[in-house]
């Protein structure tokens, strides 16, 4: 029996484009632009002055909030100054501009041997590790959970179409990931570890199973279904526990981290390397050579598209997965800790954006993993009936996009849910 959750969708995964490509080093240009906000919390305070010499791994942005994480330089060279640049969401953010001297000298933290719980959590904080699946929630906050953690779940489902980074990492670094899992188990003092991998990645399942040494760590084969990697869905699939509505996974004694995050944490503990580079998938019909890249943080996306070449005729550029990523207005934004993918999609691949009237078919409600009724929120929010829309629980929406994916009328249902959340918060209804 494969583990799974209720409802959800089966999109075409399109992983064939890049799944067989081994990791490739993306050359870094003469300048990098490091965003001071690469996590969900408050932006960091810059702790270097223009003119300062830095190395790869030098702390340049100091975290000053609860859900915020340190930022490090990704190259060695000279700090040129600060620049306001747009990020992928179109928000203007402060970036530190660093001139790359091409030497890539490193300034790492001391590696830890047999670290304790406190040491691992502190290292996580120092190295600026965040959830690298895209949500960029600081990892040390998860590790410091107040509740007793029974189970640590490693998210290897990679349920978003196109993306193949976690898959390649499981094939290339199974030993390192397993060791990283061990560190996190120590930090959480968890009784059990579950590694969830979707059934469409049998060789990743085999690779991880081969490295199993701990008797309390198991690999779970998950049904290939979206959003299998959604935190609440994954916890339900493996443990059958329901994370309370509006609550955190730690309330049911679970913590979920994805493969990239586990690997980054392993690097921080074992090698002392702070989080200044990551692996990402570049794919879609608009890319001449779809592949999996190892990129440093702060590289403009235009350099990536130039490096891999584009096929004319793409109409949309997506930062992240096609279900939950952001569509870009330009290639000016840079790679950051949360950039799992860059997709250039052709007209054939994208969903039409012209909506037609709702025909009330109920498909959105029948696939919603949170058991909501997106059509009702959509209908009411457009009439500005916010109190009525709230009854349909838009606050519980995880914005996975299943509803809009199946909608035959092509209505922007996720956008309506977001609008509902925003208006409910603003007007305090």
């Amino acid at each position: 029996m494969k583990y799974t959750f209720r409802r959800g969708i089966h999109p075409e995964d399109n992983k064939k484009l890049s799944e067989s490509c081994p990791f490739e080093e993306m050359p870094t240009g003469s300048k990098v632009y490091i965003p001071l906000s690469q996590h969900i919390g408050a932006p960091c305070t810059a702790c270097v002055e223009p003119g300062a010499m830095v190395k790869a791994g030098t702390l340049i942005g100091l975290s000053n909030g609860y859900v915020s994480a340190n930022v490090h330089s990704s190259v060695s060279g000279k700090v040129l100054g600060f620049e306001m640049r747009e990020n992928a969401q179109g928000r203007k953010l402060r970036h530190i501009v660093i001139e790359n001297d091409g030497l890539y000298e490193e300034e790492n933290l001391p590696p830890l041997e047999n670290p304790t719980k406190e040491q691992i959590i502190l290292r996580c904080k120092e190295a600026g590790i965040v959830g690298m699946g895209g949500a960029t929630f600081p990892t040390h906050v998860k590790l410091e959970a107040k509740n007793k953690i029974n189970i640590f779940i490693v998210n290897g489902s990679e349920c978003e179409p196109y993306i193949t980074t976690d898959y390649r990492m499981m094939l290339n670094f199974p030993k390192e990931i397993m060791e990283g899992i061990g560190y996190i188990k120590t930090a959480l003092q968890a009784n059990e570890v579950a590694i969830g991998i979707e059934a469409n990645k049998p060789d990743a399942i085999a690779a991880m199973t081969k490295e199993l040494t701990d008797p309390d760590t198991h690999v779970y084969e998950l049904k290939t279904k979206y959003p299998q990697g959604g935190e609440k869905q994954l916890i339900y699939a493996i443990t059958k526990m329901k994370v309370p509505d509006g609550g955190l996974p730690s309330e049911v004694g679970a913590v979920v981290l994805n493969i990239s995050t586990v690997y980054a944490l392993w690097q921080a503990v074992k090698l002392g390397k702070p989080c200044y580079s990551r692996y990402m998938t570049v794919s879609g019909e608009g890319i001449k050579r779809p592949c999996n890249l190892h990129v440093r943080i702060g590289v403009p996306l235009s350099e990536i598209t130039e490096y891999l070449g584009v096929n004319e005729g793409y109409v949309k550029a997506v930062f992240g997965g096609p279900m939950m990523g952001f569509s870009l207005a330009s290639f000016k934004p840079v790679t950051s800790k949360g950039s799992s993918a860059l997709l250039l999609l052709s007209k054939k691949e994208i969903r039409p954006i012209e909506p037609t009237p709702c025909i009330n078919c109920g498909r959105c409600a029948s696939v919603c993993p949170m058991n909501l009724m997106p059509m009702m929120t959509d209908r009411l929010i457009l009439k500005d009936m916010i109190a009525e829309a709230k009854k349909f629980n838009p606050m519980s929406c995880i914005e996975c996009g299943c509803c809009a994916y199946v909608c035959p009328a092509k209505r922007p249902l996720v956008q309506s849910q977001r609008l509902a959340k925003k208006l409910i918060r603003e007007r305090k209804i």
Binding site: D245, F326, E349, R351, C358, A365, M373, G401, Y405, A409
Partner: protein, 341 residues
């Protein structure tokens, strides 16, 4: 290079409203073909006129209200076809025209068009026609007799005047008191459509093929027809003295099966939640058999569906609990907490 910017998700199913309607048209053509074979080419004309006047009525409405044309989604064709298949095969052609104009203009477009009407347009139009032209709507012809030559039989509907004949529904109704099925009710005839009745209703096999087609392409929700049929079967068991012998004749005669597959499943007039769907369809099933057994008419499917349409907004008041729902903390407690905080 200009890039499209929009909210996630960026990919989606290839299914569109238009494709759904085309699937419906294909599914409706199974009973249509059966109806033409059984009743001749005049029946095809009736359905064609119904569909064409539905499309024209929608165009006219768009023109009158100065709104963009909405016929591209093909839903008017579906409404017209369902209405046409609900008519007796020998009706004068003004009947489908009046019915379609009524269904599209009054029932569908006036309430805002596709997805916004609260009553099933085809069912409403049928009931309207039944009340307005009762005689015409209740005169059914017998299946064609092909022994005189195929072509002659097929075109006979255009010239020949038909004598009203009894339908299985009437036979079942009149036998309900005794509880013994008359010999005229043969299940094989009901399956194959060798009986009098409306164009699309008579051939159970064709309707079931359409049902299977719609299920394969996931156009309709199985919960609706299954609950409708189950409730009808159960009601037949209870309400007829003949008990179980009446179950299959009830399900296979008249518009019950056709209604189950093509009318109960209408998107805009059925509830949004699973539980709501079951209650709605089961209610329609019970009412159908109640009407058949006790009302002045032989048939009750359309009126039953229509009546249940009216309680759909009520059923939709029931909102499912989100995944991981927990009961809100009691107000007294939060008030106290607020004070302490």
């Amino acid at each position: 290079m200009k890039l499209l910017v929009s909210s996630s998700p960026h990919i989606g199913t290839k299914l569109t409203t238009q494709k759904i309607m085309i699937h419906m048209i294909i599914a409706l053509s199974f009973p249509l073909v059966a109806g033409v074979v059984i009743f001749g080419l005049y029946a095809l004309t009736v359905v064609f006129v119904a569909a064409a006047s539905a499309v024209l009525a929608e165009m006219l409405y768009n023109k009158l209200t100065k709104t963009p044309f909405t016929i591209k989604d093909c839903s008017a064709v579906v409404t017209g076809m369902i209405l046409g298949l609900n008519l007796p095969p020998n009706v004068p052609l003004y009947v489908p025209v009046v019915g379609s104009v009524f269904a599209i203009m009054l029932v569908k477009m006036l309430f805002g068009g596709i997805g916004k009407n609260f009553a099933n347009p085809a069912a409403t139009a049928r009931v309207f026609l039944l009340l307005s032209w009762t005689g015409v709507m209740r005169s059914y012809m017998q299946p064609l007799d092909y022994s005189q030559g195929v072509w002659k039989a097929l075109v006979s509907g255009f010239t020949k005047q038909y004598i009203t004949s009894a339908t299985p529904l009437a036979d079942i109704k009149s036998s309900a008191v005794t509880g013994v099925l008359p010999d005229s009710i043969r299940l094989l005839d009901l399956f194959l459509g060798r009986t009098g009745g409306s164009i699309g209703e008579v051939c159970a096999i064709a309707i079931l093929l359409g049902f299977i087609y719609l299920l394969i392409f996931r156009i309709i929700d199985w919960k609706l027809p299954v609950s409708y049929l189950a409730a009808s079967a159960l009601s037949a068991l209870v309400l007829y003295r003949g008990g179980w012998t009446y179950i299959l004749p009830t399900l296979l005669s008249g518009g019950l099966l056709f209604g189950a597959v093509y009318m109960v499943t209408d998107y805009s007039t059925s509830p949004n939640t699973a539980a709501g769907k079951v209650i709605f369809a089961a209610g329609a099933g019970i009412l159908t058999v109640l009407f058949r057994r006790f009302s002045g008419f032989d048939e009750g499917a359309s009126i039953a569906i229509l009546l249940m349409n009216l309680i759909v907004p009520l059923l939709d008041k029931w909102i499912p609990k989100p995944f991981g729902y927990r009961k809100p903390v009691k107000p007294e407690k939060t008030a106290k907490e607020a004070k302490n905080g």
